[in-house]
Symmetry: C2
Subunit: 327 residues, 2 copies
Amino acid sequence: MVTIQEVAKKAGVSTATVSRVLNNRETVKEKTRIRVEQAIQELKYEPSALGRNLRNSESRLLLVLIPSISNPFYTEIINGIEDTAISKGYNILLCETDSNPKREAIYFNMVRNRLADGIILMDPTVNRKNLYDLASRHPIVQCSEFDEQGEISYVTIDNELAAYQAVKHLIKIGNRKVALINTDEKYLYARERRRGYEKALQEFDLPIESKWMRETGHLGFEGGQQAMRSLLNEADKPNAVFSVSDVLAIGAMKEIQLQGLKVPDDIAVIGFDKISFSNMTNPTLTTIAQPMYKMGCTSANMIINKIRGKEVESLILDHELIIREST
Amino acid sequence: MVTIQEVAKKAGVSTATVSRVLNNRETVKEKTRIRVEQAIQELKYEPSALGRNLRNSESRLLLVLIPSISNPFYTEIINGIEDTAISKGYNILLCETDSNPKREAIYFNMVRNRLADGIILMDPTVNRKNLYDLASRHPIVQCSEFDEQGEISYVTIDNELAAYQAVKHLIKIGNRKVALINTDEKYLYARERRRGYEKALQEFDLPIESKWMRETGHLGFEGGQQAMRSLLNEADKPNAVFSVSDVLAIGAMKEIQLQGLKVPDDIAVIGFDKISFSNMTNPTLTTIAQPMYKMGCTSANMIINKIRGKEVESLILDHELIIREST
DNA sequence: AACATAAATGTAATCGATTTCATAAAATGT
DNA sequence: ACATTTTATGAAATCGATTACATTTATGTT
């Protein structure tokens, strides 16, 4: 491996001068610069970021932790993070955690070990102690999911309000038997959206029936499909479904159609996230749009500010109800 | 920041001993070990991987470059890579390149700069010179996409054969007017699958008609939808479509149904990839399954072997035709 | 007790860069 | 031509770990 020493030797200068050329710092005579650059070329020198980072104690790398890359929900957020980070001279690395504490620990350690400067966390809080342990010593922000009791900065939307509006919409178009397809309540959004669902029912004096509520461990389509199948087995079938994610809603629609029922005539369906697929289904899916790209940008800005030692404030962004054919 | 020196001082030993405790290397007396561990605890010492990596000149990090994380095609491959890498003590980092040479360069440089030990590349070859420049000096393997003329090891499937079988299936069930929805031929798979399509037509003495071939720049659903719309504008409409990806096929189905036609009765559709969505559509999509998880495992093994200085051989894995309702 | 051997620990060099401070060389002023 | 300021460069310390080699301490043998 070619080192800065060999370049210095070849160019007949000191390593200090080579370093100056490398970082186009201060004043280096044109003639020397050219000689050094030639030596770099000839030797195909590639500076080691390890040496540099060790000296500067920064890596300009951001870690983005997501439970699963296969979930289309994260796509736009990541785009926002990426664009913002790159514009500020940081690179991002995606880390899939599977919500697995062990995997998470690996990536947390990358920050502890200065391989990365900070973390944007989109996982639900798995191990509160580990998280706060890290947060107390290293830059970290939460995006979308966050810990209610904690003091880690976050950016998110008002999930309860959004769910409330979605269910209210279902009720207003004439459905009095609204079911809920939820995910594991380890997710904060799951808890909040259930609250919004219940709040809307209460407001219209509708009963909160556990026979119309399902919780699925599987975040994929199959989860929605299974939940819907189970709901349709009830003697008293719902005539509308609020699903906490588009993916689940699409699975639910599949099952409804499989049983020969029509969306929205027999059962109306509403999703959450406005993933790109939600426009490809038949019928197209009514859903809640989150400002995902903006959430990404915001969280990137927050973490970079934190790395630079600034104080940052948590933010709640606006969402929007997108009414389409399924309701 | 707490360093190994401070720990050594606190424990009343040398840094060498602390390092030995850290790496549970060689022989350290139980009593000393405990003293050191206590000091580490008390000071909340977190070793810097930078120092370590610099000395050992390895990072145990693998970069995985994909054009877009939103493409569900990559999901299973990444799972395979991840599982294999972790079992061998490597961590992986996902890098989204957008097939953008600039982004790619950033990640290539991470390897040049020893921030990562090697790269698994799933991008089409954008800049042949850069690629071979990197490959000549650092470990890299290609997965799925690869450079036909190059000498970089790869793992992939026989795209031409798979496409040939798909189209043959369409013809055998009675369709003589088979259209092709393809992507940009910068992708090797696009070139190969077109060849397979043409080969099947030739074998059955069917003409290769450019009026039934479309190439879309957009890899999302909309791309498939637009291509299908354009195909349906032809005076002489096809009665079957081979689409080089499930995502495009789903877009195409959407458009067919939008125009009041039935799949597969009026137009049969076949996709490629067997993404999880392909089972959620109505009708379910006939497709070609690639051994994605295995491709992931294989490419991870290959890159790790390469990093360890071993010679590795390219591999072509088997695919499978999955016949469902759309044909 | 004396010696040989094994185990435990320390010293100092090392990895590859950056940077402070000192010094040499060039430019400028009188 | 000489003093002074400015500019360019080099020597050596530094970042935080690991490790070869040296040295000390412990253990066993006769």
